[in-house]
């Protein structure tokens, strides 16, 4: 069980949306984590690598700042390492090959009213729902 947190989740979601707007207004780019992370690695096709590394650095430092301010970060991670490795490969390959993840298609794409992103979001959510249905209720 996890607690239903409509207020905190809406506030956090609004911050995610604000971060996406900030990146668009300043750099003119979508805040898609899979796309940014994939292009931190070579080959480098443009001059945005420094800005991408800076974005990832901000993302990684966020929990440290939050904890330094007295917050607690709750996290329950599986210890089934083979499963996590397979899931990581699928998430990485699938999101980069499909041109986006929960942020790029889910948040930024839907905000731009992109049909591609709407379809992609419906597909990955639908597949994930079925996956959890199988692993938690059928196996």
């Amino acid at each position: 069980m996890t607690e239903f947190t409509p207020l905190a989740s809406s506030l956090g979601g609004a911050l995610i949306g604000a971060a996406a707007v900030l990146l668009m207004a300043t750099s003119g780019r979508v805040a898609g984590i899979s796309g940014i992370a994939a292009r931190v690695l070579p080959p480098y096709e443009d001059r945005e690598t420094g800005a991408r590394v800076a974005f990832i650095a901000g993302l990684v430092l966020a929990p440290l700042l939050y904890m330094a301010a007295g917050g607690t970060v709750v996290q329950t991670v599986s210890t089934n390492f083979p499963l996590l490795a397979i899931a990581g490969l699928l998430v990485g390959f699938g999101s980069a090959y499909g041109g986006g993840c929960t942020s790029g298609h889910g948040v930024c794409g839907l905000s731009r009213l992109s049909k591609r992103s709407l379809v992609a979001t419906a597909v990955f959510m639908g597949v994930a729902f079925v996956m959890v249905l199988i692993t938690r209720h059928a196996l």
Binding site: G13, G17, V21, I86, S103, K115, T121, M131
Partner: protein
Amino acid sequence: MNARMVSGFVAGLIFGLGLIISGMADPAKVLNFLDVFGTWDPSLAFVMGAAVIVAGAGYRMAFLSPKPMFDDAFHVPLAKAVDTPLLGGAALFGLGWGLAGYCPGPALTTLALVADGTIVFVLAMVIGLWAARFTPKV
């Protein structure tokens, strides 16, 4: 160091704080959102809803300018076609997301907590992200 690096860093920081405050840094919360017929936790819908409302309104305001503050043009994705790479990639991503409850943002944000499982996931994810760039789109 240029202006886009500074704004990128601040955007990443705010994005990460949003993931933490929303509860999405916890894979258990994501898996419970996906478990409609079990221990359902609808919180993720509120995260997505609020993010899309704020970004939708903010993008409209940002696009009133002919160009972003620190660059010569907007670089929004131009592809329009709903094709096989989009559908296949999204399906594979959904499989992995449903298996672990981790998508790229939360996985990277919680890296600093150095949980063994997160490190394994992120290493595999980076290999997957990189491999996709060398895979022809069919």
